[in-house]
């Protein structure tokens, strides 16, 4: 669990949603599940609340007054790798992909079941089992699992926890090809197959950070028709 957790709670969650009833309902459900939460109703106030509250996870509605949810997402990403779960009323491809590309880790389509949302939150706040402080290598990258850092030639690369998890998952079994469904299960915690676009978008984001040339990836390699695997080096 994160070190910033207050005693007695499982985590701090910032809820950014302009619908007051939904926000309040969310905070009730989250409290029942043992999370501490803070509400914010405007997009332009979200950053201030975020810096002030320092949450472990952000639930972010896409349609917000003041500032678009997408923009808020980009701003948070600019200064933090904190998990962001989008709440979207539109299951349409474009909205989801734009949201994911702007930095969100996962999304839930309204109307969602409270249990589904909590499962998403838990999955995002869960950490890999860090019992052994192993050091993994993938390509010319060195991954310190316990220290949660990735370095290339000694200089650290900043990854969000999700991107880190994705990379570690691939690096632990260098020769195995992971299908998108398996990755969804292992990294995102989905029991049943969900939207494989999640995987595609995040692999792109990860590549843009760790690859020398994201157009010709060497670290996260696509296996056509199957999925992804760690680079062969």
């Amino acid at each position: 669990m994160s070190t910033t957790v207050d005693p007695g709670t499982k985590g701090r969650i910032l809820v950014v949603d302009d619908d007051a009833s939904l926000a309040e309902m969310l905070s009730i459900v989250l409290r029942q599940e043992g999370f501490d939460s803070e509400l914010c109703g405007r997009g332009d106030e979200a950053m201030a609340t975020f810096r002030d509250y320092r949450p472990d996870l952000v639930l972010l509605d896409l349609m917000l007054p003041g500032l678009d949810g997408i923009e808020v997402c980009k701003q948070i990403r600019a200064e933090s790798g904190v998990p962001i779960v989008m709440l979207t009323a539109k299951g349409d491809t474009v909205d989801v992909v734009v949201g994911l590309e702007s930095g969100a880790d996962d999304y839930v389509v309204k109307p969602f079941k409270p249990k589904e949302l909590v499962a998403r939150i838990r999955a995002r706040m869960r950490k890999f089992d860090d019992a052994d402080s192993e050091a993994l290598a993938i390509g010319d990258l060195v991954i310190d699992v316990a220290g949660h850092t990735v370095t290339r030639d000694g200089s650290p690369i900043a990854l969000t926890p999700l991107e880190f998890d994705l990379l570690v998952c691939l690096a632990r079994k260098p020769h195995q090809v992971f299908s998108r469904e398996i990755l969804l299960e292992q990294v995102w915690g989905y029991r049943h197959a969900a939207d494989t676009r999640l995987v595609n978008v995040h692999v792109q984001r990860l590549r843009s950070k760790v690859e020398h040339d994201p157009e010709n990836p060497e670290i996260v390699v696509t296996v056509r028709g199957v999925g992804y695997k760690a680079g062969s080096q």
Partner: protein, 535 residues
């Protein structure tokens, strides 16, 4: 070559009009020309015959005068004959006619005589006496007077033999020397008339040919004037059809073609306006769907969560409130599914649905769907089996949509499945197969089946086989309609087969490539065991 000519003939109004006009004109010109020629020839000949008859009559009268003047009995018949004919032959040589004087005719004897061939004939030098037709000779053997006919005059001049058409006039004279009748034949050539006729014919032919050329040219020009605007209109219509709705025809003047252009442009404008309206309508509809979606989803989420909280806390309520919380929960589920399905359908109706395609292995998808459906199946005591080949069954498809289709089909089958007809056999069989062109999944159940005609209706929105039957799995009635739309988006087939009491089979066929040709399905629509199980 012939094919090209035929193509031009089929394609070009201009060519057809020009050719038919020229052909018809040629017919008319030939008829007129022929008539004219006939008239001219008859006129010429009539004129010549009149002249010839007059001249020969003068000659004969002259000869008779001379004979009556010399009507003494001093010389013999042949001498007298020669005396008579010689000056006539000389006059003929200068005036251009030939003369033959045949031997005497004896009408009383067995052989009437008078034949030129019998000898004793006097004639112009070089003339072939066979030029006098035998018919004419026969005529004089029986009758008196003057007679004429057409013939071919042949004559030899040295070695050259000439042969020209001509008129032969015969007249009888009686020689006082022997008192017998001789026939004088005058042969008048018709070369002049022939030449004149030839001249007229050539002139007529030339005039006809020129006339035809003129007609062809005029027709070509006239049709061009009509056809060119039509061709322009065609080009514009093609561009309109290709979606360039701003295309218009240029309007010149106020004639029929200009009015056609005006009408055409009006049609195009109306079309453009209608299409814009439809596009606008579609946009508004899409926008509306999106807005409704958003506006409905947010409060529903709140209600949903509130319902969940109440449901979790129902143990602390009194029995009525507790049951109410349960009902609230289940109905919320149903409401939510209905809303999602309705929004999905309206997205299809607005044409806003898009495919996200990738190579999909249907075997994987089927296993995933069947695994996910196992809890529901177990609850119903129904076994679901998968029959798939070892190789992957690939199709280019949107995996989310394909999965939704298969989820629907399997859930549907579980809903309608009856106890397996023979023990140990699964109540639902999901088969997968693929070939180069297509991949297919068939979901077979052994439930109540479908009545005749129902296999098409199952895809209708909110259709129920039996209105009294409840939807135990909580289907919204839109599942198969959405599945069908999803399938159409892929350019595939979704078909149903069923028999009352014999169960049903739903088959999804997807082309190997989206929008690719689909001619057959790797799996049969009517299951192979369709016959056996009907009791």
């Amino acid at each position: 070559m012939l094919r090209r000519v035929l193509t031009v003939w089929r394609r070009s109004i201009q060519a057809r009009v020009v050719v038919t006009t020229v052909l018809l004109s040629a017919l008319a010109v030939s008829a007129v020309g022929w008539l004219l020629l006939q008239q001219v020839r008859d006129g010429l000949l009539q004129h010549r015959v009149d002249a010839v008859l007059a001249e020969s009559a003068t000659e004969v009268a002259d000869a008779r005068d001379r004979l009556s003047a010399a009507s003494s009995v001093d010389v013999d018949a042949s001498g007298q004959q020669r005396d008579l004919v010689e000056p006539i032959i000389q006059r003929g040589a200068t005036r251009g006619f030939d003369v033959v004087m045949a031997g005497p005719i004896n009408r009383d004897g067995e052989n009437p005589g008078g034949r030129i061939a019998d000898g004793g004939a006097e004639f112009s030098p070089g003339l072939d006496t066979a030029s006098v037709p035998v018919r004419l000779e026969d005529h004089f053997a029986r009758r008196d007077g003057t007679a004429w006919t057409y013939t071919t005059i042949r004559s030899t001049d040295g070695d050259t033999v000439t042969s020209v058409p001509g008129i032969v006039v015969g007249s009888q004279v009686e020689l006082p020397a022997d008192g017998l009748t001789y026939v004088l034949y005058f042969l008048y050539p018709l070369n002049e008339e022939q030449e004149t006729l030839g001249l007229v014919t050539r002139a007529l032919l030339a005039a006809g040919a020129l006339l035809l050329l003129l007609v062809a040219g005029v027709t070509w020009l006239v049709t061009r004037q009509v056809v060119t605007p039509i061709r322009l209109a065609r080009q514009v219509a093609e561009r309109l059809a290709a979606g360039q709705l701003q295309e218009r025809l240029r309007v010149h003047g106020e004639d029929d073609l200009a009015r056609l252009a005006i009408s055409f442009n009006q049609m195009a404008s109306n079309l453009q306006r209608q299409i814009r309206q439809l596009e606008e309508l579609s946009r508004v509809q899409r926008r509306f769907t999106s807005d409704v979606s958003h506006e409905l989803r947010t409060p529903l989420t709140t209600v949903r969560m509130a319902g969940d909280v109440l449901h979790d806390a129902r143990g602390r309520f009194d029995p009525a409130a507790s049951r109410a919380a349960e009902l609230l929960q289940t109905e919320l589920d149903r409401f939510e599914r209905l809303l999602v399905d309705l929004l999905e359908i309206s997205r299809f109706d607005a044409g806003a649905a898009v495919l996200e395609t990738d190579d999909v292995n249907l075997v994987d998808v089927v296993h995933r769907v069947v695994d996910a459906a196992q809890p529901l199946a177990r609850k119903r005591g129904v076994e679901v089996a998968v029959r798939a080949p070892d190789r992957p069954c690939l199709a280019e498809a949107d995996v989310r949509r394909v999965e939704r289709i298969l989820r629907n089909l399997v859930a549907n089958a579980i809903d309608h499945a009856a106890a397996p007809p023979t023990p140990g056999v699964p109540a639902i069989v999901v088969s997968v197969d693929a070939d180069d062109q297509a991949a297919a999944v068939a979901v077979r159940d052994y439930g109540v089946g479908l009545a005749p005609g129902e296999s098409a209706m199952v895809f209708n929105r909110f259709w129920r086989a039996d209105p009294a039957r409840d939807r135990s799995s909580g289907g919204t009635g839109l599942g198969l309609a959405i599945s069908l739309e999803d399938t159409h988006l892929h350019g595939g087939w979704l078909q149903a087969w069923g028999r009352p009491g014999g169960g049903a089979q739903f088959r999804l066929t997807l082309p190997r490539r989206v929008g690719g040709p689909l001619h057959h399905s790797p799996l049969p629509l009517v299951p192979t065991d369709a016959g056996e199980r009907v009791s």
